[in-house]
């Protein structure tokens, strides 16, 4: 019961944070002078194309870009009547993309789910790699196992993602026959889910997961190793050894549990880092996530599209933090729900 209350409280703070984030996003997007339409109008004027100007002026009115900023914000959110009445994020109207000349919802559509999928796969990869390797590196510290994992880890940290991606694509295709770019074979796009389609997606996920996940895995591994080393030198470990506990059981039952907290808390850091990192990686790898859309939108000041994508990324981040907070509470009895009360 307490847990549910705590979860509800966290959800509430999350929504509040999201509201604040939405204000920030809107302000930042509107910081550069002009907007997509006024830029277009300026260029059309300079070339004397009156017909285009009329259309752009019409769109400016239609999307309330001629109003003061605070009104624009409220209309965008859906808390203020715009030219079409209340129609904003709250009502499920994500706005219009001027660059693509289509509703935002239509453009991001599938990309949202693929973004979630790619990042989930990467998070999973990070944990599956970092956990065993981190523990192993700590247990066998200062041996070749430790040095090798550290070396590979630092390589992963130091290699720029796009370079890693191109190398993996080249060699992956040459020796393993892996596909280059994309998230599924083109013929499956828009098809209903089928076994073949899932297989195609999985094969296409290999390289992106690796590219997005490597640096995160390397960092996480090193942190786990350091935490473990702290614990391993403590007296209770020696006691355990003296009592004749099997090494694996000893490791997993005591020091690992102690070292686990930062590992879980990291989800909150990991998710935003990866989501924002994967924007550029997606552009390089040609993934159909929201990354490429965000980049074009920002470059051309396509504000509704950019704002929506940024909101979505913020939402993912907040969900990540929330998951890590809830997990911590479940895992570690030392953390209490309402520390303030006690």
């Amino acid at each position: 019961m307490m847990f549910v209350r705590y979860a509800g409280y966290r959800l509430l703070t999350m929504l509040l944070t999201l509201a604040v984030v939405s204000v920030l996003i809107f302000i930042i997007i509107n910081l550069p002078p002009g907007d997509y339409l006024s830029n277009q109008i300026a260029e059309l004027r300079a070339t004397g194309q009156a017909e285009g100007v009329a259309k752009a002026e019409f769109l400016r009115k239609e999307y309330a870009l001629d109003r003061p900023l605070w009104q624009q914000y409220l209309i965008w959110v859906g808390a203020f009547p715009g030219p079409q009445g209340f129609s904003g994020l709250l009502q499920g109207d994500f706005g219009w993309s001027f660059e693509f000349d289509a509703p935002v919802a239509e453009i991001v559509g599938d990309a949202l789910w693929l973004t979630v999928l790619v990042n989930l796969a990467a998070v999973l990869f990070v944990y599956l790699v970092a956990l065993p390797l981190g523990v192993l590196a700590a247990a066998r510290s200062s041996t070749w196992v430790d040095y090798t994992t550290a070396f590979v880890g630092y390589l992963g940290l130091a290699t720029p993602n796009f370079l890693l991606a191109l190398m993996l694509f080249y060699y992956g295709h040459k020796y393993l026959g892996l596909p280059i770019g994309g998230l599924m074979a083109p013929e499956f796009e828009g098809e209903p889910m089928s076994f073949e389609k899932v297989r195609s997606i999985l094969v296409h996920l290999i390289v992106p997961t690796f590219v997005i996940g490597t640096s995160g895995a390397a960092g996480m591994m090193q942190r786990l190793r350091a935490n473990m080393l702290d614990e391993l030198s403590k007296p209770y470990v020696e006691t355990g050894i003296a009592k004749g506990l099997a090494p694996t059981r000893l490791l997993t039952k005591y020091p690992l549990r102690m070292a686990f907290n930062p590992f879980v808390a990291d989800i909150g850091n990991l998710l935003p880092a990866m989501v924002s990192g994967s924007v550029l990686v997606s552009v390089v790898l040609g993934l159909q996530t929201i990354g490429p859309a965000l980049l074009t939108a920002l470059k051309s000041q396509d504000q509704f599209l950019a704002a929506f994508v940024l909101m979505f990324v913020a939402l993912l981040t907040l969900i990540g933090t929330m998951i890590s907070d809830l997990l911590l509470v479940l895992l570690d009895p030392r953390i209490r729900y309402g520390a303030r009360e006690g």
């Binding site: 830029n39 300079a46 083109p186 390089v284 040609g286 470059k299």
Partner: protein
């Protein structure tokens, strides 16, 4: 066995006396549709007088129908490249850049004023509806002159000297377009890479047009399609160039089908296409074109893996090494090097309308621009970036143009730092700071800021080399990479000191090519954005031309338009090119840089040495992709 069969059939066909029109063979792709009566036989699908392409005259081979051509673009809106590659136009350029009727059976021109277009009787849209003068009439009366669809009236191509043409439709296969003043650019614009479509499939579009529907039906349509009015809907659905409406009938060799995906688009053969080869095989040879939409960084890697059958878009010269590596690793393609058709691969445009008055005076001095040009070591750039395969020299007509003049190419364009230094000293820019850079009259060091679109690595590499050689003439080059749109807007507003772009798109002008792009008529020539605006807006924005040689270019451009004498026009062209070479308005660095073209080993009829040019050229368009075909075994070609 099969080969022998083909040989026998071929022999039989060849044994027949040469008919004016070959017997048209059925295509296997539409066999099922013909068999169950959904579609006419091929012989009935093509126009009564089809365009019979003369493959032999071009040294090409007869092909067979079939196969899927895979190629890639980098943005979803590049689906329109298929209109460019398909290159079915009312009139089109042939491989010698001469205008020939294409969709039209024939045309007549009187005094450059009256154009009579003859359609091919029996020609049909890709959905089987007849293509007649009614489609021109629909466009002219209900689209071009409809105030809601075209608030500004008919497009520029239908005007001459500001006056709108008179268009008449004497019969179903004749359209007469008459201008009150000569319109010498009319046919050339119809043959462009992105042409004005002066016809529309009336039978399809009428259902969306207010003139042909009751108010009730229109209101219902607007509601069900969730649009703001009928005009936006019509405008969205009738774009013949964007190729984004797969229901819109087309005349191109391939028509889009809805593949329901964002990472590829399929195009299948147009069953009613109007070209056939001399053996009665309807073009295009290739059945299906699969246009993949991939990240721009992946085009080279995917080509290397053999995932494209024909690729040039998205490939740069620096990708040649990875492409060649793929070839030696056994991928089934070869990399051809075509020459770029732009007048210059990299050109620097000092802005004559720059906002800073002191700098502007310096930039407007021709000696300054000449000195800059002579301070560039073109040989070194060519060798460092293009393995010496480019043509070094200033911006002028390429060797294939009748107006090519080697002296224009080398004028003020030979590396000579000591002469350049002397010229700058003569200008009074002889004071230098401690680092050896010259000082402006107000004491500022000469920091010459060149802005780029930040898209092409080769530009940045070339500028890095120029930075070194300009240091020797006392000019500090500062490179500033921007975004394409930001660069354009900065140049147009006059705050850019100098910028880099390609040279003129059309590097091979002919006498009939309008020389407007050599004169200050358009802001996109980055040396005179303000003068261009002034002309484009008829004086509403920008500044009037206030330099003698530029005014001369303007006058010559006007003189070209009022004559149709080939010799006079040639003279005008030569004088204009001469002014440009002498004035160095755009400082060209090199031209004809190699454009890598990846061609599958199975793909035939692709020219070994082609031109990669936008207009005229339409990239692959002028090389007629519909005549390319697949052959599995190089020895199994259908014998002549």
């Amino acid at each position: 066995m099969f080969n022998r069969l083909i040989a026998i059939i071929t022999a039989a066909v060849m044994a027949l006396p040469a008919f004016a029109q070959p017997v048209v063979l059925e295509s296997t792709y539409w066999e099922a549709q013909v068999a169950n009566g959904e579609m006419d036989r091929a012989a009935l699908r093509i126009p009564g007088t089809p365009l019979i392409v003369d493959l032999e005259a071009k040294g090409r081979m007869f092909g067979t129908q079939g196969g899927t051509l895979r190629t890639m673009v980098t943005r979803s809106k590049d689906v329109r490249q298929m209109v460019v590659y398909g290159y079915a136009r009312l009139v089109g350029y042939d491989h010698n850049y001469a205008l020939q009727p294409d969709i039209l059976r024939d045309y007549e021109v009187e005094d450059q004023r009256k154009f009579t277009l003859h359609l091919r009787p029996g020609h049909r849209w890709s959905d089987g509806a007849p293509f007649t003068s009614a489609d021109f009439e629909y466009w002219w009366k209900h689209v071009a002159q409809n105030e809601e669809l075209s608030p500004n009236g008919p497009p520029e191509v239908m005007r001459s000297g500001g006056e709108i043409a008179t268009v008449t439709f004497p019969d179903a296969y004749t359209v007469v377009i008459e201008f009150s003043l000569p319109n010498p650019v009319f046919l050339q614009s119809l043959a462009g890479a992105s042409p004005p479509f002066i016809y529309r499939p009336a039978h399809y579009l009428k259902q969306f047009h207010v003139d042909f529907n009751t108010a009730d039906a229109m209101a219902q349509m607007i509601r069900s399609k969730r649009v703001r009015g009928w005009a936006p809907l019509h405008n969205k659905l009738d774009n013949m160039y964007k190729f984004d409406n797969h229901q819109l009938p087309t005349l191109q060799p391939w028509m889009p089908v809805n593949a329901g995906g964002s990472s590829r688009q399929l195009f299948v053969r147009n069953p009613y296409f109007h070209r056939v080869d001399a053996r009665g095989v309807q073009l295009p040879y290739i059945d299906v074109v699969e246009l993949g939409i991939v990240g721009s960084g992946l085009v080279a890697a995917k080509s290397n893996a053999g995932e494209s059958d024909l690729q040039a878009r998205g490939l740069d010269f620096r990708d040649v090494s990875i492409l060649k590596k793929g070839e030696t690793d056994g991928a089934a393609y070869k990399t051809l090097l075509w020459a770029n058709g732009a007048a210059s691969q990299i050109a620097i445009y000092p802005n004559l309308n720059f906002a800073d008055p002191i700098w502007r005076d310096v930039i407007r001095n021709p000696r300054f621009r000449r000195a800059l040009s002579m301070g560039i070591d073109r040989r070194m750039i060519n060798r460092a970036l293009y393995f010496g395969l480019g043509t070094e020299g200033g911006m002028t007509a390429l060797a294939q143009s009748p107006f090519f003049d080697a002296s224009n190419l080398s004028k003020w364009a030979v590396y000579d730092p000591s002469t350049a230094n002397a010229m700058l000293d003569e200008m009074g820019l002889n004071k230098r700071d401690k680092a050896g850079y010259r000082l402006l009259s107000d004491g500022r060091p000469m920091e010459f800021v060149i802005e780029t679109a930040g898209e092409r690595q080769e530009v940045e590499n070339a500028l890095a080399i120029i930075t070194d050689t300009w240091r020797d003439i006392g000019i500090k080059l500062i490179m500033r990479p921007l975004d394409r749109d930001i660069l354009r807007n900065r140049v147009f507003s006059g705050v850019t000191m100098a910028s880099v772009w390609f040279g003129w798109d059309n590097g091979i002008p002919q006498a009939y090519t309008p020389p407007g792009y050599l004169a200050p008529t358009d802001q996109v020539f980055f040396a005179w954005p303000k003068w261009g605006q002034h002309h484009q807006t008829r004086g509403a924005a920008g500044e009037p031309v206030d330099m003698e040689p530029a005014q001369r270019l303007m006058d010559l451009n006007a003189a070209w338009a009022i004559t149709d004498d080939e010799e006079t026009r040639g003279k005008i062209w030569r004088e204009m090119l001469g002014i440009h070479a002498n004035q160095q308005y755009g400082i060209g660095i090199l031209s004809e840089a190699p454009q890598p073209v990846v061609v599958s080993d199975r793909l035939r009829n692709v020219p070994e040495l082609g031109k990669w040019a936008w207009d005229p050229g339409a990239h692959f368009g002028i090389h007629r992709v519909d005549e390319f075909y697949f052959a599995d075994d190089p020895h199994a070609e259908v014998s002549q």
